[in-house]
C-alpha cells in the first residue's frame, strides 16, 4: 500500500537510445497506484463558522492538487462524521446500515467509501483567533489507538486569510506524511501583458493572489529565479535592446549586473549555489553561452559556434550539467554539456524543433517543448529522462504548449498554452492529468515555479 511513496525511485532497467515509453517515465515521476483519502467538510464553532467553507475548499484543493491521493467521493460519506477521535466508538457488531450509532473506522475503509485515510477535525474561535484541530487517521487500522498519524492544533487569524493559512499548514503536514512536499506557499513568476506591456507578475501556485512585480512600462520577459528564491533575473528592453536585469525578490530592488557590450544579453539562469549566472550573448556576433559571477563579472565563454544558442539551464542537483537550446545542427534542438562547455551531446532526436528545457528538482528529467510530429510552431510538452533519453509526450496537439517548468515538488509543472484561445498559464501533474487553468486576464507566458 505504501509503494506509491516510492515516487522518486527510478529502478527501471535503463533502456538505451531513444524511445517513447511514456507510462514508465510518468509512473516513476508521479507514482503509480494512489492511496485513497477521505476529507469530509469540517464544521466551524463560533465565528470560525464564517470562514469554514474557505478552509474546506483550500484543504481539499491542496490535497487533490498534490496528485498523490485519490479523493474519496463525498457523496458516499457516512452521515455521522467524526469531529474528534473521541467520537469513534467501536461497535460490538459492525453494521454498515445502522445510521444511529457512533462513527467507526470501518465506515470509511469499507465500501462504498473504501478509503485508506481520513482527515477530520473542526475549526473554532478562541481568543479572537482561528483554531484548527486537525487529525489524520489510517482507517485501515483495527483500533483507534493505532490509527492516528496526525493530531495537531493550528492557529490563524479569524478571517479568510487565516482559514487559508491553517488549511495550507494542515495539508502540508498531511502530504509530508507521504514524503510529498506541499505546493502551498510556492509562487509562480510569469510574464503578463495585462498592464499594457509585458512585465513580470507573480501569483500563488493555485493562481490566487496575482500581482504585478515589475513596472518598467517596457518589454520585460524571460524570467528566472535563483534556487534560493531571493533573486529574479529577466531580459529587459527598457534600455533599448535586450539586456539582463536582476532584482532582489526580498526588497524588490534592482541588483547590479554587468552586461557585456552586446546587442543582446538574454535568457539568464542561476547555478544551484546562486553564485554564477549563465546566459546567452551576441558579444561575439552569434548568440552564444557565457558564464559569469552573479554580478556579471569574471566572464567566461562556454560555447563557440556560428549558430544561435540560448536558454542555458543548470542541473539543480549536481550543478554540473547544462541543458541548452542550439541551432548548431539545423533546426533548434535541446543539447546537454558540462558546466565548462565540454562534452556537448544532443538530447532530442533532431526531429522538429525543441526548446524550453527545464530540469526537475531531482536533476534527472527535463520537461521541454517540442514540435515533433507536428508542423513548426505547434509545440507540445514532453518529459525526457536525461540519462536514457526516453521521452513521453504530455500534451496532444491542443493549441501551442510552451515553457514548462517544474514545481518544487517535482511532480507538477506549469506551462503556457493557447488551447482556450489566448495564451494562458496552466498547471498539471507530470503525467498530463489534473489540468488547471491559472490565469485568464491578458496574455500570460513564461512561468517559473519557485518555493
Amino acid at each position: 500500500m505504501k509503494n506509491f511513496i516510492l515516487i522518486f525511485v527510478f529502478t527501471l532497467a535503463a533502456s538505451v537510445g531513444y524511445g517513447q515509453q511514456g507510462s514508465d517515465i510518468v509512473g516513476r515521476i508521479v507514482g503509480g497506484q494512489k492511496a485513497v483519502i477521505a476529507i469530509p467538510d469540517f464544521r466551524g464553532a463560533g465565528r470560525a463558522a464564517n470562514f469554514v467553507s474557505t478552509f474546506n475548499e483550500t484543504l481539499f484543493r491542496d490535497i487533490e492538487q498534490a496528485g498523490v491521493f485519490k479523493m474519496a467521493p463525498k457523496s458516499m460519506f457516512p452521515l455521522n462524521v467524526p469531529q474528534r477521535p473521541e467520537d469513534f466508538r467501536k461497535p460490538l457488531q459492525y453494521d454498515p446500515n445502522n445510521r444511529t450509532r457512533a462513527p467507526w473506522l470501518l465506515d470509511w475503509s469499507e465500501p462504498p467509501v473504501s478509503s485508506d485515510y481520513l482527515a477530520f477535525g473542526y475549526t473554532a474561535e478562541q481568543e479572537n483567533q482561528m483554531v484548527l484541530f486537525g487529525w489524520l487517521f489510517n482507517v485501515r487500522q483495527p483500533e483507534v489507538s493505532g490509527a492516528q498519524l496526525i493530531g495537531k492544533i493550528y492557529h490563524g487569524s479569524l478571517d479568510e486569510e487565516g482559514a487559508r493559512k491553517v488549511a495550507h499548514e494542515f495539508a502540508t503536514d498531511i502530504l509530508r506524511q507521504f514524503g510529498v512536499e506541499s505546493l502551498a506557499g510556492s509562487k509562480i513568476y510569469f510574464v503578463s501583458n495585462r498592464s499594457g506591456s509585458k512585465e513580470i507578475w507573480m501569483m500563488d501556485y493555485d493562481g490566487s493572489n496575482q500581482k504585478q512585480f515589475t513596472f518598467y512600462k517596457n518589454l520585460i520577459t524571460m524570467p528566472n529565479v535563483s534556487p534560493d528564491g531571493t533573486r529574479l533575473a529577466f531580459t529587459s528592453f527598457a534600455g533599448g535592446g535586450p539586456q539582463i536585469v536582476v532584482h532582489s525578490l526580498e526588497t524588490g530592488r534592482k541588483i547590479p549586473f554587468y552586461n557585456q557590450r552586446a546587442s543582446m544579453n538574454a535568457t539568464a539562469a542561476f547555478t544551484p549555489d546562486g553564485k554564477q549566472i549563465i546566459y546567452s550573448s551576441t558579444a561575439s556576433g552569434w548568440a552564444q553561452l557565457y558564464r559569469a559571477n552573479a554580478d556579471g563579472s569574471k566572464l567566461e565563454r562556454l560555447t563557440n559556434t556560428r549558430s544561435i544558442e540560448v536558454e542555458p539551464k543548470i542541473n539543480p542537483k549536481t550543478g554540473n550539467e547544462i541543458l541548452f537550446v542550439s541551432g548548431r545542427g539545423g533546426p533548434q534542438q535541446v543539447y546537454k554539456m558540462n558546466i565548462d562547455g565540454t562534452d556537448v551531446t544532443r538530447l532530442t532526436t533532431g526531429e522538429g524543433e525543441a526548446s524550453n528545457p527545464s530540469w526537475n528538482p531531482q536533476g534527472s528529467h527535463m520537461a521541454f517543448a517540442w514540435t515533433r510530429g507536428y508542423s513548426p510552431g505547434n509545440w507540445n510538452i514532453f518529459i525526457m529522462d536525461v540519462a536514457t533519453r526516453e521521452y513521453v509526450q504530455l500534451t496532444q496537439g491542443a493549441g501551442r504548449n510552451e515553457n514548462p517548468t517544474w514545481a518544487p515538488d517535482g511532480r507538477h509543472m506549469v506551462f503556457s498554452s493557447n488551447r482556450g484561445g489566448s495564451m494562458q498559464l496552466w498547471s498539471m501533474l507530470a503525467d498530463g492529468t489534473q489540468l488547471r487553468q491559472l490565469t485568464s486576464a491578458g496574455v500570460n507566458e513564461k512561468p517559473v515555479w519557485t518555493k
Binding site: K198, L219, T221, M222, T235, F237, G240, G241, P242, S263, M264, A266, T267, S280, T282, G285, W286, A287, I308, E309, V310, E311, V325, G327, P331, Q332, E353, S355, N356, A369, P376, G377, W379, E402, E445, K446
Partner: protein, 258 residues
Amino acid sequence: MNTRRASVLALALTLSFFAAGCRKKVGVPPPPAAAAAPVAPKPVAQKPMIAFFTAEPSTIERGQASVLKWDVKGADSISINQGLGTVTASGNRSVFPSSTTSYTLTATNEGGSSTESVTVNVNAPATVAPPATPTPSDDFGSMVSKLIQDIYFDYDKSEVREDSRAILTKNSDALKSIFGKFPNNTLTIEGHCDERGSAEYNLGLGDRRATATKDFLTQLGVSADRLRTISYGKERPTCTDSDESCWSKNRRSHFVAQ
C-alpha cells in the same frame, strides 16, 4: 437829365446811408456765452496720445505674420490685448493670428486712457487642408521611411536573400546620401521573426537578421557606426494571423530612424 441823374444818385446815396445805418443799429450780437470764450485753461493732466497703431499687412494668409507697430506719447503704461501684454512706448511685434483678430492698444496715465484698435484679417482656407506632405528633404525620419525598404527572410534563416540584395543595394545608395545630409543621425535595424520558433531562440535569430543586414550595408560602404541593431525576436509582429502570408511579413529587417 442832370436833375434826374442827380436825384437817382441822391436816392442811391440815401439808400446806402440808410442801409448802413440800419445794419449798425440791428447787428450788435449779444456777448458769447462764457464757456465759449477763450478763457485761460486750468492746469489739467492730458490723456496719452497714440500717435499711431497699425498692422502691416492688415490682411494675411493663415500662418503668415502681420507686424503691429505703435508709437505713444505721454503714457505711464501701455498694453496690447490678445495676450501681448505690456509694451514699450514705441515698438513693433509680429503676430500670427489663426483667424481674423482685433488688437486693442490701451495707453494709460493719470489723465485717463486712450485706446486704438487695429484688425488683422486672416484668410483661412475654405476647408482645413491636411498638412502638406513633407518632401523627402524635410527631415531624416521621412527620408528614411520613404527611401529605405524592409527586407524579408526565409524561415529560421538569417542569410540575405537574392531578392533582398537588390533592395539593400538601393538602400545603401540612399543611406549614403541621407547620412550626407544628416551627419548626426543614426539608423536602427530591427530584426524580427515569425511566431513559430521559440521566443528565446527567436531573440537570437532576430539579432542575426539585423546583424546580417548591417554587415551587408557596411560592405557596400555605409558607415558602420551610423547603424545600430536590435532584435525583437517575435515580440513585435506586424501581422498576427497564423499563416504563411503573415509569417513571411514578420520575418524581416525593419529600418527605423533615430
